[in-house]
Amino acid sequence: MATTKLGFVVQRPPYRSENPKLALTHAIASQSVEVYLEDGDIVTCDIAFVGDGVLNCLKDQKAADHYGLTSTETQVKMALLLDINVLICKEDLDRFGLSEDDIVIDAEEFGADIEAKVVPYAEIAAMMEESKHLLFF
């Protein structure tokens, strides 16, 4: 039985590129691959938002109004619904003058059981060390 740990690191802001959405889509999709693996083998994944990437977690995004697209806010909530470990860098939130009140922490309205975690960068660095594969977006 083997566990493959994936780490997704999102550094870009929402809207100016598709990168953050791709990170979230790939992280979410990774949770379905175990049906194709050997018995007992699983894939776990963490997704971390750092630098400008923390802006993907802002509440009340208007992507649907302006672009007709699902917002990254909604995709972060979907990741929580699928029990993906969502880490948000505290230092970068502070740099933007943002607090936990400004960002997505839970997705209770969709029935998610877990919450996003605002953590010091050191914790994100530790996650990166532990991951077998790291993907930067």
């Binding site: 379905s32 175990e34 049906v35 029990d83």
Partner: protein, 83 residues
């Protein structure tokens, strides 16, 4: 396949309108939380999930299942027994 359709489901999971991989992962999550013996009825309109990943998941875990396509409504009913 087991004759599960004729039994009363313990629980129903509606994932209509959800695209792959949500139906699979939400089904998995619901089954993991359910008690042994639970009969879960999943309503799903994502073809890849209904015809591929959810059946594969059941087979890997030895959960008896029954897949019924409701042609006129365009979705599948999937009955899964948590053994």
């Amino acid at each position: 396949m087991a004759d599960l359709k004729s039994q009363t489901p313990t629980q129903t999971l509606d994932v209509l309108g959800r695209v792959c991989p949500f139906p699979l992962v939400l089904t998995k999550k619901t089954i993991e939380k359910a008690e042994a013996g639970t009969l879960l009825k999943v309503l799903c309109d994502a073809p890849a999930s209904a015809e591929d990943t959810i059946p594969k998941y059941c087979e890997k875990n030895n959960y008896p299942y029954e897949l019924i396509k409701i042609e006129d409504k365009g979705y599948w009913e999937i009955y899964i027994k948590k053994s």
